[in-house]
């Protein structure tokens, strides 16, 4: 078994399952902050998915995408905090 198939048939499915689990949390909530952190986790998992995908396809190009995701993902979380905090203070 090559690394590529290992990733395709083991690692990526694991990550896929992880994505689905997180999605369940987004559905369940119950509060908005739960959804926000789930979203954040989703993106982090996305970084992982893209990384291993680039190994599987042997295209380092995709790492660039992962880098962008990692760099700015937290901005969303910060924006939500900003908003919720402001709303809470109102």
């Amino acid at each position: 078994m090559t690394l590529s198939t290992y990733i395709d048939y083991v690692i990526l499915p694991i990550l896929g399952v992880a994505l689905l689990l997180v999605l369940v949390r987004i559905f369940k909530g119950p509060t908005i902050v739960d959804r926000v952190i789930a979203l954040d986790l989703l993106i982090t998992i996305g970084v992982g998915v893209i990384t291993v995908f680039s190994i599987s396809t042997q295209k380092s190009t995709f790492i660039d995408v992962a880098m962008i995701l990692a760099l700015i993902a937290f901005l969303g979380t910060i924006a939500f905090s900003y908003y919720l905090e402001k709303r809470g203070r109102k």
Partner: protein
């Protein structure tokens, strides 16, 4: 995979349309965003999809040595994404103005009677 994506395409359009038909302006905007995603996916699919072969020539090469994904739909979608961002940004701010004006985002309230025309 195409079948799955083409179903996703239908779902995106259907959801977009459904959201367009709501009374809330926020939902309207979301609907437009969904439709925009749908249109992008349509372009993406229509051009044919190729897994894991980005249209980037290897550092060492001057030409593609392998097959590669069609770059045109990507360029088109990129343009479309950026354009929709501009429109969305404006639309979202318009939503803000609407809210300031009528104190709600209920689209049914957007009817100044004709008598108030200048």
């Amino acid at each position: 995979m195409e079948l799955l994506l083409v179903i996703l395409l239908g779902v995106l359009y259907a959801a977009g349309i459904f959201m367009l038909l709501r009374r809330s302006m926020v939902k309207l905007l979301i609907g437009l965003i969904l439709l925009g995603n749908g249109a992008n996916l349509m372009i993406f699919l229509a051009g044919g999809i190729t897994r894991g072969k980005p249209p980037v020539i290897d550092d060492a090469a001057k030409l593609f040595t392998d097959i590669y994904a069609d770059p045109i739909p990507q360029a088109l979608i990129l343009t479309a994404i950026v354009i929709s961002f501009g429109l969305q940004a404006f639309a979202i701010v318009l939503l803000k103005r609407v809210y300031v004006l009528i104190n709600s985002d209920d689209l049914d309230d957007l009817n100044t009677p004709e008598e108030e025309d200048i």
